[in-house]
């Protein structure tokens, strides 16, 4: 009899430990189209789960990340515009303070080696620290974010679901945000569908595509539409902002005025353009590149003048609009969590 009691007690103990140690995580995977390069992001170190993704989504849309609970990631990264800050040359944050750069889009980040216009951030998992701690963005500390989250019943519950622990840490907070933003993949634009032989370009789009391949793909490399490098694209420096780009990070004069080559996916909606948002329309952007001539400070990719006719410019812009992925821009999985 004693033996049976012991076995029953022990059985309960086993059940308890098994149910505590084995949370039910639902693995999810991002879809990688054929012929795409291998992602840079190491998913093994942060395996995507539905629970982690949903936690990251909550964090992304929650102003709790900012000092006075007014600014969320989504304040400057709106889904409808490819997760960038539309209509503001320079993005603004807490108390209406204005930054020095135009916020980047958040698309296909799994393929990026580094982040920000100057590449100062070396890993997606630590990117969120930058806006959280920036005095003109969220002006908060990661330590305090963790404290606030730990006091929230909702988040303690979500962290337990996502990571099997009620103890919230900076690492887990950042990894959850990564799970959401790394899932923001756009692979279903008309351009992608043409590539997969599911649709066809119009005649003008096709001409624009040929011009694009001839003049733009050395930096805006297919299929990601960026080579993830830093380039001087011939823009004169803004005398007020005095932003020398990559040089701030490397302190090497060779990197003066170099900025990250951004992806052109959904470029139709990501205006204004360039690191300081100085161009409002794609036509202005194309005109800029078409007017460069052969300056000495230009990189080899821009050394050959484009000499585009007015019709060429129209065709090129029409092609750029085929990079719009409406399924991505309207995907309910990425929208404000209700």
């Amino acid at each position: 009899m004693k033996k049976i009691v012991l076995i029953v007690v022990f059985g309960f103990l086993i059940f308890g430990i098994v149910s505590f140690s084995k949370n039910h995580f639902t693995p999810i995977y991002i879809e990688i189209p054929n012929n795409w390069p291998k992602p840079v992001y190491d998913f093994k170190k942060n395996p995507l789960t539905e629970e982690g993704f949903q936690l990251g989504r909550q964090l992304f849309y929650d102003p709790i990340l900012s000092k006075d609970n007014t600014i969320s990631c989504a304040s400057c990264h709106l889904q409808a515009t490819g997760f960038t800050h539309v209509d503001h040359e320079l993005s603004h944050g807490i108390e209406g303070k204005i930054g020095t750069r135009n916020s980047l889009t958040l698309q296909n980040l799994a393929w990026s080696k580094n982040f920000m216009w100057d590449g100062g951030v070396n890993h997606l998992d630590v990117q969120a620290i930058t806006p959280i701690t920036s005095e003109v963005e969220m002006n908060e500390t990661l330590e305090n974010v963790v404290n606030k989250l730990q006091k929230s019943e909702k988040y303690v519950d979500l962290f337990e679901k996502a990571f099997g622990t009620k103890k919230i840490t900076g690492q887990l907070t950042l990894k959850a945000v990564s799970q959401f933003v790394v899932s923001l993949t756009t692979t279903n634009s008309k351009y992608d569908k043409v590539k997969r032989n599911e649709e066809e370009f119009t005649e003008m789009e096709q001409k624009g595509y040929a011009l694009f391949q001839n003049h733009c793909t050395s930096c805006h490399k297919e299929p990601l539409l960026t080579n993830d490098a830093f380039k001087n694209n011939g823009l004169p420096i803004d005398v007020d902002l005095k932003d020398f780009g990559r040089m701030k990070i490397t302190r090497n004069s060779r990197d003066s005025l170099l900025f990250k080559v951004p992806t052109l996916r959904n470029v139709q909606f990501t205006f204004p353009y360039m690191h300081d948002g100085r161009f409002k329309t794609l036509t202005e952007v194309v005109k800029h590149y078409n007017s460069l001539g052969s300056g000495k400070s230009l990189p080899k990719e821009l050394a050959k003048p484009m000499n585009l006719s007015d019709n060429d410019r129209v065709d090129l812009v029409l092609f750029l609009k085929t990079l719009t992925d409406n399924e991505f821009l309207l995907d309910k999985r990425f929208s404000f969590p209700k």
């Binding site: 086993i14 890993h123 630590v126 620290i129």
Partner: protein, 244 residues
């Protein structure tokens, strides 16, 4: 996990023998009480000013005649290595965040105590480049410890903050955040100290007077990015350690 496996194994055996239960209880008690203070070799970090224990917010005068107070002092010790007299080497690959204000970070066990004569110790001040490019890490390396840079990724190897009337800055403050993991501004410093003694606790001491002895606070009071200044401060920081 090994516990879990053990349980599952027991389950498979249908627990025919109560022997298993006794064994299990023994196992638990070993794990809980097996670690004993005297069985481990611990590292104690003592922070001093001119040979006396440092206190925060206390006025000190540096060899450069700067009057100063320290308000915050944190740094990383990584890759702690002990070379014994018989030339065996013991390594602790972890990074430990030492925070002057948290006594539990200034005394910790590094290894089992082999009771052998220690020839020398070596360690690094800071966090190595591999950890600096590995994203968000946990424990002492968690970016929420206030030792991680934002706009330019990487750890702050050492943070010394304080005030001095020599600093014509806001609130007369000086801020030294020393770090940088990319050449030519690699700011981690390796330190080797001979010991040649049998010890149960290594008393690693650092004297901040030595650090400030070559800093003119009027000229240098804000270093918060990797670069030449951070390299100079890193060099100074490697001169302040000794073993009592």
């Amino acid at each position: 996990m090994s516990f879990l496996n053990y349980f599952l194994e027991l389950e498979n055996l249908k627990m025919k023998k109560s022997f298993h239960i006794i064994y299990f209880l023994l196992l638990i008690s070993f794990t809980l009480f097996g670690q004993n203070e005297s069985d481990s070799l611990s590292l104690k970090i003592n922070t001093k000013w001119s040979g006396k224990n440092l206190n925060l917010n206390t006025t000190y005068i540096s060899k450069q005649k700067d009057t100063l107070k320290i308000t915050q002092f944190k740094f990383y010790i990584s890759d702690f290595q002990i070379t014994y007299d018989d030339n065996t080497i013991l390594s602790d690959k972890k990074s430990h965040l030492i925070d002057f204000e948290k006594p539990n970070t200034t005394l910790f066990a590094i290894t089992k105590n082999y009771k052998k004569k220690i020839k020398s110790i070596n360690f690094s001040i800071g966090v190595d480049s591999l950890n600096s490019v590995s994203g968000a890490l946990s424990g002492d390396l968690d970016p929420s410890n206030g030792m991680y840079w934002a706009w330019q990724s990487g750890y702050i190897n050492m943070k010394i903050e304080g005030t001095s009337s020599s600093c014509k800055t806001r609130k007369n403050s000086f801020n030294f955040h020393v770090g940088g993991y990319l050449n030519p501004y690699y700011a981690m410093r390796k330190i080797e100290i001979p010991i040649n003694k049998l010890q149960n606790q290594i008393n690693l001491t650092l004297d901040l007077e030595r650090f400030f002895s070559e800093i003119n606070l009027k000229e240098m009071n804000s270093v918060m990015i990797p670069g030449n200044d951070a390299m100079a401060l890193a060099n100074l920081s490697s001169k302040m350690f000794y073993v009592e």
